[in-house]
Amino acid sequence: MFDYAEAAVEAALAAGARYADARVMDRRHEAMGARNGEVEELTQEASVGMGVRALIGSGWGFFSTSDLTTASARRAGAQAAAIASASASVSGPALELTPVEARQDTWANDVREDPLSVPLAEKGDLLSNVTRTMKEHGADVALAGYDAWDTTKWFASSEGHRIGQHIVECGAQMNATVNGERETQRRSYPGIRGQYGTRGWELVRELDLPGNAARIAEEARQLLSAPECPSRDVTDLIIGSEQMALQIHESVGHAVELDRILGWEAAFAGTSWLDLGRIGSLRFGSDLMNVTADATLPGALGSFGYDDEGTPAHPVDIVRDGIWVGVLSGRDSAALAGLRSSGGAVRADGYNRLPMVRMTNVGLLPGTSSLEEMIAATDDGILMDTNRSWSIDDKRLNFQFGCEIGWEIKNGKRGRMIKNPTYTGIGPRFWGSLDMLGNESEWTFWGTPNCGKGQPGQIGHTGHPSVPCRFRGVRVGVRG
């Protein structure tokens, strides 16, 4: 496979490229879904192909093909160069790439139980059983599913990289929906997007879906008769770690993507409220806030050995003691921004997509409080968890998030369950009100397998280490 990658790189150089790289990728994906006690969907997908990047002047070109022969690889390299030439006709500032050592290496994540080797019948039984349990406990629609990916990549560049990687990922989710007179309520486990990691089937076993199916169905039904989340302009808000993962992803992760900050996503995903001139001095949140982007965390969904430009995985400080100090970057964006080296955060969704800046594992470092301590320390507030809806503006500043479930907190105790809880805020003001942070025993590496970005669209797998947090003076209960 390296031979095809190298043939493509050579052809791109012969066609005038000053830099080229190629990535052969062989990926298998298996997904199963069950509904109301029956396995309803089973898809197995295999894709093999190669993507080639070429740089001419300051113009990039990318071409991909599923045809793996030496002749086709050479054609793909030449095509990438031809596209790069067209890019150069509407060109921007001179572009360099930050230096990176040209490694020859291999990497694979730890897997105890290969998810694609677990018998389909066993996986099907798990999903049909939990959906049956949810149905029996009051769900009108009970869904459960898993996904597993097995990816092998061979990367070669004109600078001499030759890196092989084998990455296995899997995870699962389930949810129970109940229909009321004029509304629907849903409970999901372990979160709206499930839980995923760079691990084997042991991850799914540890989730214990069977042990939680009855509870979430019953909670969904209880929500129908629960009171609405009160509308308050200012309240103390405790957010569970699953919703915090979404909060981090949307209001920190996307905001610190260097391509957004540079305006490369301006027309589509948007830009960022962050101004590069203020990196190192801008206050993003309270002193308790420490965020890193760390692709080396074992088992987290955003982990790898090397990114898709051959930069080795390494931890990057994003927010330190509340001050914004770092970004997610690649070799070209880092060079344009005047950074010394790439943050190693460039990945592609499949052989036929251009590598771009993606979150690795962007998450909070833990603090010292337990969730119970946060509740005990709150006189009058709201606790919310499990994301239900999300919306955020194109600068990643103004957000409104909804959760599946909430509880009133009165005099340090968890009170009535409430439905349709929502909260809204402005990034730095909201993060500035963070005053209690969950401890290491609450630290969960949430994995999100569906972060959309780019044109053509790419789906990214990102990790979000997260803990429950308390915020002061938050607006809750926004209604239509």
Partner: protein
């Protein structure tokens, strides 16, 4: 091309054998997309794509398999994995069986020049867009795509269709505002970089130095891009028969759930449409009336929901849509007779909105959606645009907004909008003047 693809279909079906029901879809083509930002081309890609999708049923045990290799080994792996998976599955009581042989309408939204477009042709239009902005910063993309789709099943259904599409979409930016321009067509030749760039530039300049506006209920004048955004939610959570079957949908056939000025259909044969005239199950598409003068009059079906609800498939099965059900790919909302300029004249106190952004549904049944405005919003008083306003967040039931008595005007500016809300298809809609829209906050909170 079509003979080659049908030949691959035959080989896959032959390998699947006579003991199974099988359907195979093969898609080949080239997708190319050139992106620009800060006024230069920063990403430029092309993919010679090929996808083979096989679904088999062994005595009602169903499984799917997807691959991108069509040599002997690739076909062998594709068929074997589907059949092995099916054998392990329980019998699916909702399995509707395969589509019987029927011909599809002779609709072909195709243009050779677009299918073969060179990167330089996309770059040319982007160059024109950038020049039209007269020094304002610009960003966006120009895409061209051509795909040929072949379908075969073991009942003898054989279909081939092809479609091209081209989109030019971008923004121009002042230091305080963005403005957008959009164009989509079957033909790249229809896309005028200068015109689209000029529109974006005008919107950017005219929305510069915007002031805040107190949130609240206002009339709105929504562009076709906003209207198409709304249609995505109405389709996915409303007209989708799966949502009806599960009790999640608002749709009640025969009831006047919309204003009488609203008529909506799914219609691949519409002259402005792009796409092929059959679906992932080999069911030919036909015109499906969803709303007739305000009255909900039809649903979108695949074979599964058709069987469950005693209806016929409308040809809207989507490959890999799984539990989501069927989706329309060619919604067309009927246009009116009023120009967008004259629509402004009818607004007493309202907002003219260019685009929606990041719309997310809060409750499928009531169609309450939250989102933000983008790329230009203006306050209109007594029929005149008086000033630009900063972006606003809204939390609004789309159903209520289009409800009886709530539509004050339908524009004559029927427009094909590329890039549908849920990524399926491309829809056609006019501008709409609506009586009330609930803006719940400013972009600053």
């Amino acid at each position: 091309m079509s003979d080659q693809l049908l030949d691959i279909c035959e080989r896959v079906l032959a390998r699947a054998g006579t003991n199974v029901e099988a359907e195979v879809t093969i898609t080949v083509g080239t997708d190319a997309l050139t992106r620009f930002a800060t006024s230069f081309i920063h990403q430029n890609v092309a993919d010679a794509a090929r996808r083979t999708h096989l679904r088999v049923a062994l005595d009602g045990r169903v499984a799917e398999s997807v691959g991108n290799q069509t040599d002997g080994d690739g076909i062998e792996r594709l068929v074997r994995s589907a059949i092995e998976a099916a054998a392990l599955r329980p019998i699916d009581p909702g399995w509707p069986g395969l589509a019987a042989p029927t011909s599809a309408p002779s609709v072909e939204h195709w243009d050779d020049a677009t299918a073969q477009a060179e990167p330089a042709e996309r770059a040319e239009r982007i160059g024109a867009f950038v020049r039209a902005a007269g020094g304002l910063e610009t960003a966006g993309f120009c895409s061209t795509a051509g795909e040929t789709v072949a379908f075969g099943n073991t009942l003898g259904q054989r279909l081939v269709g092809r479609t091209t599409s081209a989109i030019l979409d971008g923004i121009a930016r002042t230091t305080t505002s963005d403005g957008s321009g959009h164009a989509a067509s079957v033909r790249l030749a229809d896309l005028d970089g200068d015109a689209v760039g000029s529109e974006a530039t005008r919107r950017a300049r005219e929305s510069a130095e915007a002031g805040d506006l107190e949130p609240g209920r206002y009339e709105v004048l929504l562009s076709p891009s906003c209207v198409v955004n709304m249609l995505g939610f109405l389709a996915m959570h409303g007209f989708n028969a799966r949502a009806v079957e599960e009790g999640r949908s608002f749709a009640r056939i025969g009831e006047a759930q919309f204003d009488p000025s609203i008529s909506l259909a799914d219609d691949v044969a519409h002259p402005m449409a792009v796409g092929i005239p059959f679906d992932a199950e080999g069911t030919p598409k036909r015109r499906v009336e969803l709303v007739k003068q305000g009255i909900t009059s039809g649903l979108i079906h695949d074979r599964r929901t058709a069987k469950a609800l005693g209806a016929e498939s409308t040809g809207n099965a989507v490959s890999g849509a799984g539990p989501w059900g069927a989706l329309p790919a060619n919604l067309v909302m009927e246009g009116g007779s009023v120009s967008p300029e004259d629509l402004v004249g009818g607004v007493e106190l309202g907002l003219l909105v260019t685009d929606f952004w990041y719309t997310r549904i809060l409750d499928p049944r009531t169609q309450v959606v939250t989102g933000l405005t983008r790329n230009g919003v203006w306050l209109v008083e007594d029929g005149r645009i008086v000033r630009p306003v900063t972006n606003l967040r809204f939390t609004q039931s789309f159903l209520e907004a289009l409800g009886p008595g709530n539509v004050r005007g339908v524009g004559s500016d029927l427009t094909l909008v590329g890039g549908a809300t849920f990524g399926v298809g491309a829809h056609v809609a006019p501008s709409l003047h609506l009586a009330s829209w609930n803006f719940t906050g400013g972009a600053k909170g």
